[in-house]
């Protein structure tokens, strides 16, 4: 036992199915204030000055370390810094342990700032949202990295919080190749209180929104890699034994809440045929997360694995 509040089987199934976990207002105000102090202020807009220059200076002057990729996450931030304090919160440490196991590695981090219209007008640039993309590059692994998006101040809809499309994490795509997709049914925009964290499976399609407010929007992203198989790291005591398959298609009423119910809930954007492939891939991911190679939900893999051999 770790003593940490680990994710329950239902929370873990939801992450497997949808690729995100949202923890609202879990970082205390004093940590949020400390982080914003460490980040510092961006210079006011000035006619003719490129936005990139102001942003570059902010990144250079922020009290956030340049950290080599591949070091233990636990050593990435100085003791007592806002980011170390955030990662040490039991609810955060428990979620990290549940998703990527013990002692994950630090991959990279970045201070994402979106600027209000005055900056774009002053620099002569266009104020637009970021294209939807999947981070890094094509990733065919069953294992996955996790990215924590930290929102140290309240985010309104007008500020253009992170946009993401639940359930896209199992798609094998190449970064911004999908940028032509402007809107997808079921997309979500982060509107949240200060101290909110969004944990994303590294495959989730996302992008920054356009900031139409009168202040900058700050989000800090930390990516981490597992160092061991992500098997049975959540609170497995909450995993109920599956004694038989559920009935499928011909149902006389709603089914009771269960891991299967969570895994088999489609997203609004699912295509008719590939939506079924998503279910197959969710079952495969759940097999990995639980270490149970015989697991199935709604008979998808049982049917395919029946070779009817004599």
């Amino acid at each position: 036992m770790t003593g940490l509040p680990l994710l329950s089987a239902h929370q873990m199934a939801s992450f497997a199915a949808r690729g995100f976990l949202r923890l609202d207002a879990v970082v205390p105000d004093d940590v949020n204030r400390q982080f914003l102090d460490e980040v510092g202020q961006v210079a006011a807009p000035e006619p003719g000055r490129k936005l990139r220059a102001a942003y570059g200076r902010m990144l250079a002057e922020a009290d956030i370390p340049e950290t080599p990729a591949g070091v233990p996450l636990a050593r990435a931030y100085a003791q007592g810094s806002a980011l170390a304090r955030m990662l040490e919160l039991p609810v955060v440490a428990g979620a990290i342990r549940s998703l990527v196991g013990d002692n994950p590695l630090f991959d990279h981090h970045f201070l994402h700032v979106t600027f209000p219209p005055a900056y774009h007008e002053a620099s002569g640039g266009e104020n637009v949202s970021q294209h939807t993309h999947q981070d890094s590059t094509i990733d065919p692994r069953r294992a996955f990295d996790v990215q924590i998006m930290y929102y140290p101040h309240a985010v309104t809809l007008e500020m253009g919080g992170t946009r993401f499309i639940p359930g896209t994490h199992l798609r094998k795509v190449s970064e911004a190749a999908l940028a032509r997709y402007q809107n997808i049914r079921g997309q979500q925009h982060m509107v949240c209180e200060a101290g909110t964290l969004l944990f994303l499976h590294s495959g989730v399609w996302h992008g920054g929104g356009v900031n139409r407010s009168d202040r900058t929007r700050t989000m800090f992203k930390i990516r981490m890699n597992p160092r061991e198989p992500q098997v049975r790291k959540f609170d497995v005591a909450t995993l109920e034994p599956q004694d038989r398959q559920r009935p499928i298609f011909y149902l006389k009423g709603p089914q009771p809440p269960s891991v299967e119910q969570i895994l088999m809930t489609p997203e609004p954007w699912f295509e008719d045929d590939t939506g079924r492939l998503e279910m197959v891939n969710r079952v495969k991911l759940w097999r990995y997360l639980t270490g149970d190679d015989s697991y199935d939900a709604d008979y998808w893999l049982t049917r395919l694995e029946n070779l009817a051999a004599a």
């Binding site: 949202s129 094998k172 795509v173 997709y181 809107n183 992008g207 699912f270 295509e271």
Partner: protein
């Protein structure tokens, strides 16, 4: 002088009268600036509804055989339909 406006619809299957699951707009007249995340509801319920409203279909994605060994892989949205309207603008 004419300019092209483009509508891209992503449908739930290969039938043009199936439901829209994703959409994009590019307005060559410069009157509107569309971008990622700018609307929550699709402009049409189906691709056929776009035809009825005067959009002209000029490209549809192909149906390709599944690659052996990768039959269960999912990647890009599969049912992409490109529409256009030509609009007069005052130079």
């Amino acid at each position: 002088m004419r300019r092209q406006s483009v509508l891209v619809l992503y449908l739930s299957n290969s039938a043009l009268d199936s439901a829209v699951v994703g959409w994009s707009r590019y307005d060559g007249t410069g009157r509107e600036r569309h971008m990622a995340g700018d609307s929550e509801e699709p402009p049409y319920r189906t691709g056929l509804d776009a035809l009825k409203d005067g959009w002209r279909l000029f490209q549809a994605s192909q149906l390709n055989p599944h690659i052996p060994g990768a039959e269960f892989d999912v990647s890009y949205l599969k049912y992409e339909f490109w529409f256009e309207q030509l609009e007069e603008i005052v130079p």
